[in-house]
Symmetry: C3
Subunit: 342 residues, 3 copies
């Protein structure tokens, strides 16, 4: 607490520290935390995973893109209060992680990364402006949209080399494949569970996942609880429905549900039993949408990124459902306008 | 009439009858009819088709999903008046018909059906909230969106077996195929015509189509007339343009135009000659969009469902065109805002 | 000037001349010019390119669709002022050029062209109504959406023969292909540069490009400058990133950036250094989006048309960024609403 106060005062007095603070908050906002320490721990989690994977350029990309996205927001005179909370940084971080994860390092790759990071801020402003019409946040859609364009473009540009995604392919039903037995040993499941939070940052490493949860706990215990619960639900549902074991144990069915659970469970609604049930439905449906988009985007050869989280969370926030305890006072608020047939 | 009054009073006095009434209206709202008898006849049409196809689980699915969707709306405290008209049931019915039509029965199939039905209500609230910005209804888009996710997910889940859709394939021009002669016998065309209304419920049976038209006529003669006219226009246009004969005779070019014709012709505009011409253009374009989406979604291996109807009807409702007889008084209403170049 | 005044007076007095004037302005609005002479020169550019390609039906299609789109707007009682500026014509012209460019002449082709032109006006009204919510114009999206439907439908209709697009195919990384040396001779680059403005009208002819630039200069020197600058930036970026040389030299990487540069540089913002930098970022990103959509739409077998321009320009207009010289007065205007985390 004393440390927090000290840092906050330092950031207010010193422009360089303030800039650092804004960027760290930007990293923290990837999972909704307006907290510089959380952001620092998230960057450590990225750095650990990148080093383990022998790809330190991923950490460098994250930092460069974070700074470019923040500076672009400053140059565009974005709202100072919004900027101060790091809300123009989190899409940049994710662009900066994604590009070097799927493209081999080269001059052209860095050009795409920097242009993408700058555009992620423009896209953030655009998407936020559209979505505020219905009182709903942009979430990580600016990252998703911008990076989809960058990754697809890589297929058309000879100057960049794709590594780790695709190739484009038509889906075929998994039912034709022989069933693969789930490991009886509990360890892979524990790792799969912890890789969920790590894969929010496209990191395939369970220790990074532990760091991400710690980063959340530093700012909000509820966020840490819902992140772990979301990853657990995703693990159970994806295994029960027979999803690809490689994807499940790699945490690829976990990262979007983690975000949905945190968003619906404790960020945009206050925790309660009704909210927990609503978040549970949303989390389960996020697993289904992840499976759907994996199949649907296979012909394109690019990852879904966090789109399943974005689409499901939008669907579950747009109703403006009153999730306070019964009895309700909803009629005046009007959940839904008159529709067909009136 | 006397029977209607009796039923209405019964539904007001008895909670169980009211719940039944709401669900029947939900079935009726699939083609815009706030009428429990229409809904009952539609369910009979589904039941007849399902039995003929040897798949009674389709009727069971429809009923289960209808009830789940309605109960979900109650649990979310949806607007009572909207709920009372059955507007949270019709997307559920369609989810419940679609899932057992394209997936083989299994525990996982029923999980997807129940989760999908519950989510269809959340999606209805979300889409209605967005579209009311422009005074336009959600139509069956909540069904379409939810079921696309369910069907695509089936390709990723080993626990469900796909039957009756796909496989994913690249389109190739039909022009390369040898022309297939249209049957000179009138009977297949008559059946194809009547299968249009039946395929609104994914039923490939002309007698079900007759039942659907009767169900409409009970509530609105205009609706029955526009449904038959829409199916006839679709048949003529799809044959003239050389669409796949198997699809045409199966009613697969008819169901969306049926809905477009009813929606534009007598639900959201009042019948008149100008309206009929506008609805005709919309109905013809729905056939083109059906052909387009059949080709465009082939790589995904999932059906278009009623998306052609939804997209075209939105396009034709969004202009808020004044279709009253000339001379017009439109300038004050302002059809279109100032756009490029001003 | 005298000629302009004379023509304007003539158009006010004579209904036939006024109708001609509206249609010519419609052609001019393809690149944002409310100017009948510009429109006439654009039609000459189309005619020249069509003749050179031995496909005069392209000019006929453009004129027919232009008139159909304009007349449809009149029949729908569209806002008189908007109509008078030609804003219901430009999407029609483009539909009329695209259909005979990619489909062989036949009765069915002309049916698709006329229906598509009429629907382009309905779509214009719909899209304009939606986008004005955020103070953003419809741009050429009505053309893009309508024509995507027409082109995809062609794959399902045996009565039309596709020529010059597709076939649908999965993308594969260009990096696997051997590098192709850029011609050292400067002439192909000069031609590639001038084909950018021509390809706005789907014309693969550098002389048509010169005519298009002259047409712009007649109405706005800035527009001509930004068009040429946009084409130059697109040429440099697409070559540097290793795009397909056939596409680059055909102007296929140039037409959307031309439109983005004109739109952001001098139509929706006033020219200045800040605006020029913003337009530069948008123009560079348009090249990336063109590359992305070329890969992403390959499985569909239809062209992107001007979608890269539309999407990027929307993204860059939606923020309502204040691009006046510093110091700014933006906080009151509020670029972006509060988003995640508040």
């Amino acid at each position: 607490m004393a440390a927090t106060t000290f840092w906050t005062r330092l950031a207010e007095e010193n422009a360089a520290i303030r800039f650092l603070d804004v960027n760290l908050r930007g990293a923290g906002q990837v999972i909704f935390q307006n907290n510089p320490l959380t952001g620092l721990i998230f960057l450590v989690a990225i750095g650990w995973g990148a080093t383990q994977a022998g790809a330190p350029q991923i950490l460098l990309g994250a930092v460069v893109a974070l700074v470019v996205a923040t500076v672009t927001a400053m140059l565009l005179d974005a709202d100072a209060g919004t900027l101060r909370q790091g809300l123009f940084g989190f899409n940049g971080v994710l662009v900066g992680v994604a590009v070097p994860t799927f493209l081999e390092p080269s001059g052209a790759m860095w050009v795409l990364l920097v242009v993408g990071a700058a555009v992620s801020t423009v896209t953030m402003l655009a998407v936020a402006n559209v979505m505020k019409t219905w009182g709903v946040p942009a979430l990580t859609f600016p990252f998703v949209l911008t990076t989809w364009f960058l990754m697809l473009a890589a297929y058309s540009f000879g100057a960049v080399t794709i590594d780790g995604m695709g190739p484009p392919a038509l889906s075929h039903s998994l039912a034709a494949a022989p069933p693969i037995p789930v490991e009886s040993d509990a360890v892979p499941l524990l790792e799969a569970w912890l890789k969920g939070p790590a894969q929010v940052f496209l990191i395939d490493d369970w220790l990074s996942g532990v760091l991400v949860v710690i980063g959340l706990a530093v700012a909000s215990l509820w966020a840490a609880v819902f992140a772990l619960a979301g990853a657990a639900v995703a693990l159970a549902v994806s295994l029960a429905l027979g999803a690809s074991l490689a994807d499940v144990t790699g945490g690829l069915y976990g990262f979007s549900p983690v975000l949905t659970a945190v968003a619906l469970g404790c960020v945009f609604y206050s925790p309660s039993w009704r909210v927990a049930l609503y978040a549970l439905l949303g989390t389960v449906f996020t697993v289904i949408v992840q499976a759907a988009m994996d199949a649907g985007m296979a012909p394109l050869g690019v990852p879904t990124f966090t789109a399943p989280f974005v689409f499901v969370t939008w669907l579950f926030l747009l109703p403006k459902a009153d999730l306070k305890p019964h009895p309700h006072d909803l009629i005046e608020n009007g959940i839904v306008g008159k529709t067909a047939g009136d």
